[in-house]
C-alpha cells in the first residue's frame, strides 16, 4: 500500500509542477500589466510603476520568477496577494471552508436527487416517467449556472423574500443563516451535478439490471425491490462512486460563476477576481491548491472505488 501511495504521489508531483509552470507561463503571456492594474485609476507615475515592478519581481526573467516562487512554495510560503496584501495561504485557508461547505451541500443535493432519479429512470426505462426524469436532468445540464442563479434570486429572494439573495454567513457564526445563504447556490450547483449523477446512475443501473446476476437474484425468489436495491444498485454504484468523487472535486475546485453571482467568498470567486486583477500570487496559489485537491480527490476516488468494489479490494 505504501508503495502504491508513493507511486501515486510520484504522479501527482509532476502534474503539479507542469501545471504551476503552465499557469506561470500563461500569466506571463496574458496581456495586462499587473503594476498598472495595481496602480488603479490614478495609474501613478512611471517611477511608482517601476518600483512596483521591482518589488513584485516583474522585471525579472520568467524562469527566475518561477523558481523564486517555487522555492518559496516548497517551504510553504505562497506569497502575498498583490491587491490586498494578505498572505495567499491565509486567503486560501479562509476560503476553503466556504467552498467546502458549498461543495458539500451541492453534492448532498446532487446525491439526494441524482441517484434515486437515476435508479427510477432505469427501472422505468422507456416509460413516460423515465422521459420526464431525463428531461429534468437535461434541464439541469443545459441551463447555464449564472442564469439559473439569477432566476432563483429573482424568485426566492426578491419576489418571495424567503432567502437572502447573496452573501455568505459562516456556519459557525449562525448555522441557520449560513444554510439560508448557501442553499440557493448549492442548489444551482447541485442540479448540474445531480444531472450528471443521474445520467450515469441510470446508465450503470441499466447495465447492472441486464446482468446475469440480477437474473440469478430473481431466480432466488427475491422481491423486485430487493433485486433492484441490493443486487443491481450495489454494483451500479461502483462507477458512480468514482465519478461522484471527481464531481465533488470539481465542486471544491471552485464554482466560478455561481460564486460570482451569489457573492460567495469561495475559491472560484477568489481566483476569478485574481485573474481579472492580475493578482498572480493568488491565481498561482489557488490553482495549485485546487489542482492538489483535484488530484487528491481522484486518489480518494480510487480508494473509494477499492472499498466499494470487492474486485479491487482484495488482492
Amino acid at each position: 500500500m505504501a508503495r502504491w501511495f508513493l507511486r501515486r504521489l510520484g504522479q501527482i508531483l509532476p502534474t503539479l509542477l507542469i501545471l504551476s509552470f503552465g499557469i506561470f507561463a500563461l500569466q506571463q503571456l496574458m496581456p495586462g500589466d499587473p503594476a498598472l492594474i495595481l496602480a488603479g485609476e490614478d495609474r501613478g507615475d512611471p517611477e511608482v510603476l517601476a518600483q512596483i515592478r521591482a518589488e513584485l519581481m516583474l522585471d525579472r526573467p520568467l524562469l527566475e520568477q518561477y523558481f523564486h516562487w517555487l522555492g518559496r512554495v516548497l517551504v510553504g510560503d505562497f506569497g502575498f496577494s498583490w491587491r490586498i496584501r494578505e498572505p495567499v495561504s491565509q486567503l486560501i485557508l479562509s476560503k476553503l471552508p466556504v467552498t467546502a461547505q458549498l461543495a458539500s451541500m451541492s453534492f448532498l443535493i446532487a446525491l439526494v436527487i441524482g441517484i434515486p432519479a437515476g435508479v427510477l429512470s432505469a427501472v422505468w426505462k422507456d416509460k413516460p416517467a423515465d422521459w420526464g426524469i431525463n428531461a429534468v436532468a437535461l434541464f439541469g445540464i443545459s441551463t447555464p449556472n449564472f442564469w439559473l442563479g439569477i432566476m432563483m434570486i429573482m424568485f426566492f429572494s426578491v419576489h418571495l423574500g424567503w432567502l437572502p439573495p447573496s452573501g455568505y454567513v459562516p456556519l459557525w457564526e449562525d448555522p441557520v443563516q449560513s444554510l439560508a445563504t448557501t442553499i440557493m447556490p448549492a442548489f444551482v450547483l447541485g442540479t448540474g451535478v445531480a444531472s450528471v449523477l443521474m445520467r450515469h446512475t441510470r446508465a450503470a443501473m441499466l447495465t447492472a439490471l441486464a446482468q446475469d446476476y440480477v437474473r440469478t437474484a430473481r431466480a432466488k425468489g427475491l422481491m423486485e425491490r430487493v433485486v433492484v436495491a441490493r443486487h443491481a444498485l450495489r454494483n451500479a454504484l461502483i462507477p458512480v462512486v468514482t465519478l461522484g468523487t471527481i464531481e465533488f472535486g470539481r465542486l471544491l475546485a471552485g464554482a466560478v460563476l455561481t460564486e460570482q453571482i451569489f457573492s460567495i467568498p469561495g475559491f472560484g470567486k477568489l481566483v476569478v477576481d485574481a485573474v481579472f486583477n492580475r493578482d498572480y500570487p493568488v491565481v498561482q496559489g489557488v490553482v495549485l491548491v485546487t489542482a492538489l485537491i483535484f488530484v487528491t480527490l481522484s486518489l480518494v476516488a480510487d480508494i473509494l472505488a477499492m472499498l466499494v468494489n470487492p474486485r479491487l479490494r482484495a488482492a
Binding site: 509532476p14 445540464i141 441551463t143 447555464p144 449564472f146 442564469w147 488530484v295
Partner: protein, 292 residues
C-alpha cells in the same frame, strides 16, 4: 456450399449504416436531431428567415415586448430579438462545433500517441492532460481568452484547448483497450506496421465513442461560450450570440424578461436536443446493441 451463404440479399450494410438505421429508430434521438437541424437551418438561412437585421437599431422601439411585429420583442437597442436569436445560433453553433472540432484535433492525436507509444511519452502526455484537467474549466478558458483577446474565435479556441484533455484521455484509454482486441492483434500478426494499425484499424473503431463524447461536448461548449460571454469574453458586439444576449439581458431581467427568455430557451432546447442526439448515438453505436 451455396446454401451456407444464403444470407438474405440485402445491400451491404456498413457499421455506419447499421448505426444509422438504429439511430433512425430511436425516436427521442430523431426528435433531438430534428431540433438541431431546425437550429442549423435557422442559422444558415437566418438572412431569409429573420425578417429583420439583427444589428439594426431602432431608437423608437427599445425593449418592446413580443408582438406581431417583433415575435420575440426588441432588445435594449431596439433590435429584433427573433433575428438576434437566429443569428445568435450561428455563433453558438459555431462555438460548439468548431470548439469541439478543435478539441478533437488537439486531443485525439495526443491520445493516440500516448496510448500507442506508452512509456515516457505516455507519461508526459498524460501528466500534461491531468494538469489541464485539474484547472477548473472556466479559469483556463478565462486565462486563455484574456491571453488571446476577447473574440468569438478566441473563445472557441480557449474552449477547444480546455476541452481537449478529455479527448486525449478518452482516446488514450480506448486505444489501449482496442490494442488488446483480437482484430488488432490479427492486424499485427498479418504484418501491419504500427502506424497502419493505428490509423486503419484502431482509429475507425474508437471514432464512434469519440463522436458520442463530441455531441455532449458540443452542448457543453455552447454553455461555455455563454459563460464566457457572461464574463464578456465571447462574441463581440453588436453581433449576437446567445451567451452575450443573456449577458446583456441580465440588466433588464425585471423590465424586459423576454430578452433573457428567448436566448436562454434557445440554449436549453439546443443543448437538450444535442444531448438526446448524443444518447441516441451512444445507443446506436453501442456494440452491445449490435446484432451478434
Amino acid at each position: 456450399m451455396s446454401a451456407t451463404t444464403a444470407t438474405v440479399i440485402r445491400p451491404p450494410q456498413s457499421p455506419a449504416r447499421r448505426a444509422l438505421s438504429a439511430f433512425v429508430a430511436h425516436k427521442l434521438a430523431m426528435f433531438g436531431l430534428l431540433v438541431v437541424l431546425v437550429f442549423i437551418i435557422g442559422a444558415v438561412f437566418a438572412p431569409y428567415l429573420a425578417g429583420a437585421d439583427p444589428i439594426a437599431t431602432s431608437w423608437s422601439a427599445i425593449r418592446k415586448a413580443p408582438s406581431a411585429a417583433h415575435w420575440f420583442g426588441t432588445d435594449e437597442n431596439g433590435r429584433d430579438v427573433f433575428a438576434r436569436v437566429l443569428y445568435g445560433a450561428r455563433a453558438s453553433l459555431a462555438a460548439g462545433v468548431i470548439a469541439v472540432g478543435g478539441a478533437l484535433l488537439i486531443g485525439v492525436p495526443f491520445g493516440l500517441i500516448a496510448g500507442l507509444a506508452g512509456g515516457w511519452v505516455d507519461a508526459v502526455i498524460s501528466r500534461v492532460a491531468d494538469a489541464m484537467l485539474a484547472v477548473p474549466f472556466l479559469i483556463l478558458a478565462i486565462a486563455l481568452a484574456a491571453f488571446l483577446g476577447p473574440a468569438l474565435e478566441n473563445a472557441m479556441l480557449a474552449i477547444a484547448i480546455s476541452a481537449s484533455p478529455i479527448f486525449t484521455r478518452l482516446a488514450r484509454g480506448m486505444v489501449q483497450d482496442a490494442a488488446s482486441q483480437d482484430y488488432v492483434e490479427a492486424a499485427r500478426a498479418m504484418g501491419n506496421p504500427p502506424w497502419r494499425t493505428a490509423i486503419l484499424h484502431i482509429l475507425p473503431n474508437i471514432a464512434p465513442s469519440l463522436l458520442v463524447q463530441a455531441t455532449l461536448s458540443i452542448a457543453e461548449a455552447i454553455i461555455a461560450e455563454a459563460s464566457l460571454s457572461f464574463l464578456g469574453l465571447g462574441q463581440q458586439p453588436p453581433s449576437p450570440s446567445w451567451g452575450s444576449m443573456l449577458n446583456s439581458a441580465q440588466r433588464f431581467i425585471e423590465n424586459a424578461p423576454w430578452l433573457a427568455i428567448f436566448p436562454g430557451g434557445a440554449i436549453f432546447v439546443l443543448v437538450l436536443a444535442l444531448n438526446l442526439v448524443g444518447d441516441g448515438l451512444r445507443d446506436a453505436l453501442d456494440p452491445r446493441g449490435a446484432k451478434r
